[in-house]
Amino acid sequence: MMPPPEEAGSEPPRPTQALFLERQSYRRRRLVDVARLLPLLGVLLLLVPLLWQGKGEGLETPISTAITYVFAVWALLILGAGLFGIAARRWGGDKRADTEE
């Protein structure tokens, strides 16, 4: 009797990405989403002062308000980036989080 023939020409199995991730990886990806959204948030918040242009005497915004606002937004962005940096350090050894786009 002949041995059953090999399945010639069939494609080698490809490593497919799992549809659902572990809780940890899922959190990680959402964190990356935050990191991506952070600059957009910054742009939006920094555009807000442009709406403040008061016309005429007494209606103008004092510059101290603007300074406080801009520096507050700035500090917020730094805080966000810092927290993300700390979180990113915790998964430092993990290659997968690094390679995902």
Binding site: V32, L38, P49, T61, L77, I78, G92
Partner: protein, 899 residues
């Protein structure tokens, strides 16, 4: 008042300190004891060369003129750093994996290692950065001037001080920027010195700020009140300028050669980015924290007409704070020197790699493999370039007269360098970006920037009339109102048009052109840098000579480094010697090593010269594609063959099973035959012995015994006849008696013969109308078949009230006669066997010898028809097919031939 001599002494001391730090850092790096040199902190601080003298002094002046608008210069980089996961991470990864040496190298490498593109980017960078360097020289000179003005006896000359400053910076840059030709193009000494300078300028600005807020104004709230009360006390910002400058600063932060140098090239570890992502914005925040207070207080305190650009310096001086003023001076000095040193280094790398080296290589003909140390040439060209760039900056300063025209040069430089952005971003994120597109976009942006920003900004080149009416009076070509759109701020106008048209031309030209294979490979490498780590298979090293490569590499990498590299490679290939085989993988790694020293395009060209230019060509790619197509075809052929084989194997298995079954049948039949033969023989022998040996038998007894003997003999004869019949039929030596007749008559005859003498004949149902068919056949043989089938039904039908249905119909030129009984039929596994010789359906109803159906089938084959078991009927069913009259002459001829 501080004496000028002390100032000069402090300056020289400070520079000596920087030299010392750079020297020690280089030493430590060389000994491998430089862990803290590679810390994220040093990386972050080195990024601070973004803050030049323009931002150190100029930010206050800017704030004094336009309020909070200055802050956009810092907000742009903050946004880029905060969004590092999107852009910088990729940029740094590519820079490290491709051994990129400069922004021009990156662009050229991305677009197929194009030398021409690299030259264009280099020229653009030199043209936009030279005025910027002049600006730094000016700021140092101005700060000197402040001190000299207070000390009239010193014999100060602005011109000579600028010269000495430029010369000193050039020496520093040459000493530490071109000491070694590192494979990774990293300069630990310079970077460390810059980090120190970063600390100095931050401390200086913070000190002045703290003095102004708490020393002069008495606290935060009073300062805020003072600011609100000052000239810049209301929030008035041009929305266009606000957004445009933020964008420009962000773009320049990535594209400026010096920023690229510290951010990508000098990067030791990609993970530093995540620290720098928050630390650098914090640095920028601190740098700008006290700018507005200093400006507001300066405007209030300082006399009318004093230069707000120098408030940082003049404010402490006016309050008698000489020490603080000295610190502020050092801060400004640091800002200017660090920028100039790194910018000169970065530009010199670009110029020497992309302009000098290609020219030198081509001027030497087949140069790469000739003797001579290329390293010396590279280093010398870099040194000369640094000198040339500083000289350019110096002359630019002189030509522009060092006046107010320089003040605006910072933004002009930003706008110029930002023209690289579309090609850079497109190259990183869009695989469809091509060399043609990058070139076209770059040139478009550059020309527009030149026409709408640089030339009008230089004051005396374009006349008022030209600006107001446009060239030759064509109003829609006015440099500051292109296409007739007026009312825009000139800076916004220029940036908007140049960036929009640059990006548009880049995209359209990319879409319309077709990239070369190398470009496409590099494109895939860059865009999907997180998926690929290997480089493109660029070289086919069949003709490359390892020795030539060795000679060339020694001259670029240095003898020891090159030998070590080659040895490692040889060991990787499993060879004992020092020279590895020129495999594509080895050549690719070698090219990357070399590109760390001389740039991607030059390294590519040098290896190309030795390997014989056998880089990837379309033909190679086609050959590869062809090969894989052949492989595919071969494998599909294999697949077909293997399925054929498996089919054959299955058939063989079936045949084998059948053979085994038949063999078993034969054995069983031999038993049967011997039994069949023995039974009559036994009775014949017994009765013949009785007749022979027994005396006094009655005549009636003799007759009875003789009849038994006769019957048994007849039975034997019948059996033998059947066997003979079958063998005759099978051997084809049968004679057929072809006659015309009617089917109904044959059936009548068959039914009556089969059922005659039966005690309980089964009921036969027929349709006489359908049986009235004319036949041309051997009617006796046909009747024999029918008789066999009917008597089989009689014998084996196990129904309580057995009925045989005989159906006749015509189909496809054949006459079909079905014999269907109402018994339980034949089991599926034995259906295939019933027509075999000696087969019997069941052993419990022993009748004939099991030859009947076999004979029937042979007869029907002879008659040109067939008999087979009909599945799926209510009971046992047989179908006899017979050629109709029209075509029935054929078998007769056949049999005649067989006679």
């Amino acid at each position: 008042m501080t004496s000028v001599n002390l100032l000069i002494l402090v300056c020289i001391g400070y520079v000596a300190l920087l030299f010392g730090v750079a020297f020690i850092a280089d030493r430590m790096a060389a000994r491998g004891r430089s862990t803290w040199l590679r810390s994220p902190l040093v990386y972050t601080l080195s990024l601070s060369i973004y803050c030049t003298a323009w931002t150190f002094y100029g930010a206050v002046g800017y704030a004094a003129r336009s309020g909070l608008e200055f802050i956009t210069i810092y907000l742009g980089p903050t946004l880029v750093m905060v969004g590092w996961w999107w852009g910088l991470r990729k940029l740094v990864r590519i820079g490290r994996s491709q051994r990129v040496t400069s922004i021009a190298d990156l662009i050229s490498s991305r677009y197929g290692k194009s030398t021409f593109l690299a030259i264009c980017v280099t020229l653009l960078a030199v043209i936009s950065i030279t005025p910027y360097i002049a600006l730094q020289l000016q700021s140092i000179t101005l700060s000197f001037e402040i001190f000299f003005a207070a000390d009239p006896g010193s014999g100060f000359s602005a011109g000579s001080s600028v010269f000495w400053v430029a010369a000193g910076l050039a020496v520093f840059a040459i000493l530490f920027g071109t000491r070694n030709l590192d494979v990774n193009e990293r300069h630990h000494g310079v970077v460390t010195a810059i980090a120190l300078e970063a600390v100095v300028k931050l401390v200086a600005l913070l000190a002045v700020g703290i003095f102004v807020v708490w020393g002069l104004s008495g606290g935060v709230s009073q300062t805020m009140a003072r600011i609100d009360a000052s000239e810049i006390g209301t929030w008035q910002v041009d929305a266009g300028r606000w957004t445009t400058i933020t964008f420009l600063a962000a773009a320049a932060f990535v594209c400026l050669p010096r920023m690229f140098q510290v951010m990508v090239v000098e990067n030791d570890d990609e993970r530093h980015l995540r620290t720098a992502a928050w630390a650098f914005p914090t640095y920028l925040l601190l740098m700008s924290l006290f700018v507005v207070p200093i400006a507001a207080v300066g405007l209030e305190i300082m006399p009318e007409g004093s230069n707000p650009d120098l408030f940082v310096l003049t404010l402490p001086l006016s309050q008698g704070q000489d020490g603080l003023a000295m610190l502020a001076f050092l801060g400004g000095f640091s800002s200017a020197t660090s920028m100039v040193i790194v910018a000169a280094m970065a530009l010199s790398t670009m110029v020497s790699n992309h302009i000098v080296m290609p020219i030198w290589l081509s001027s030497r003909g087949g140069g790469a493999s000739q003797s001579g140390d290329v390293r010396k040439v590279v280093l010398m060209s870099r040194r000369l370039t640094i000198g040339a760039i500083m000289a350019l900056g110096y002359f630019y300063y002189h030509l522009s007269g060092g006046g107010a025209a320089l003040a605006a040069i910072g933004l002009i430089a930003f706008a110029g360098i930002a023209q690289i952005l579309p090609a850079l971003v497109g190259g990183l994120f869009w695989r469809g970006a091509t060399r043609t597109g990058a070139l076209a976009g770059l040139v478009t942006g550059f020309v527009l920037w030149l026409y709408t920003m640089l030339l009008p900004g230089m004051g005396n080149i374009m006349s008022e009339e030209f600006l107001a009416l446009g060239p030759f009076g064509i109003s829609w070509l006015r440099p500051q109102a292109l296409f007739g759109i007026t009312g825009l701020d000139p800076m916004v106008h220029s940036v908007m048009w140049s960036m929009i048209l640059n990006a548009t031309v880049f995209s359209v030209a990319s879409l319309l052109s077709f990239p070369s294979p190398l470009e496409r490979l590099q494109g895939a490498q860059f865009v999907n840098v997180f998926d690929h780590s290997a480089g493109p298979r660029g070289w086919t090293g069949s003709v490359a000579q390892s020795e030539d490569l060795m000679i060339m590499s020694q001259r670029i990498l240095g003898a020891n480094e090159a030998q070590a590299f080659f040895q490692v490679e040889a060991r990787k290939q499993g060879a004992d010697g020092h020279l590895p085989e020129p495999t594509p993988a080895f050549l690719e790694r070698l090219e990357r090593e070399l590109s760390g020293s001389v740039g991607a395009a030059t390294a590519h060209a040098m290896i190309g010269q030795i390997v014989g230019g056998s880089s990837v060509s379309v033909e190679d790619l086609l050959a590869v594609a062809d090969e894989s197509a052949q492989m595919l075809e071969y494998s599909s052929q294999l697949e077909i063959k293997s399925s054929e084989l498996s089919r054959t194997a299955r058939q063989l298995r079936e045949a084998n099973d059948k053979l085994m079954q038949i063999s078993h049948q034969k054995d069983a039949f031999l038993d049967q035959v011997s039994h069949e033969l023995r039974t009559p023989m036994t009775s014949i022998r017994a009765f013949s012995e009785i007749l022979r040996d027994t005396d006094g038998l009655k005549p009636s007894e003799k007759v009875r015994y003789a009849t038994i003997i006769n019957n048994e003999a007849l039975r034997l004869t019948r059996l033998l006849d059947d066997l003979l019949d079958l063998s005759v039929l099978e051997s084809g030596q049968v004679s057929l008696d072809m006659r015309s007749g009617i089917l109904a008559e044959v059936l009548d005859h068959a039914v009556s013969s089969a059922l005659s003498g039966e005690a309980a004949p089964l009921q036969v149902r027929r349709l006489p109308a359908s049986e009235n068919v004319a036949l041309l056949s051997d009617l006796d043989r046909l009747a024999q078949v029918f008789i066999n089938l009917i008597s089989n039904a009689q014998k084996y039908c196990d129904a309580f009230d057995p009925v045989l249905q005989i159906d006749v119909h015509q189909r496809d030129g054949f006459l079909v006669i079905d014999f269907i009984d109402n018994g339980s039929g034949i089991a599926a596994d034995t259906q295939a066997l019933v027509f075999e010789k000696f087969a019997r359906v069941s052993n419990d109803k022993a009748g004939g010898a099991g030859l009947g159906l076999a004979v029937c089938r042979e007869i029907m084959h002879r008659l040109g028809g067939d008999v087979r078991y009909l599945e799926g009927q209510a009971g046992g069913a047989f179908r006899v097919t017979l050629p109709s009259r029209q075509s029935s002459h054929q078998p007769s001829r056949q049999t005649t031939a067989a006679k």
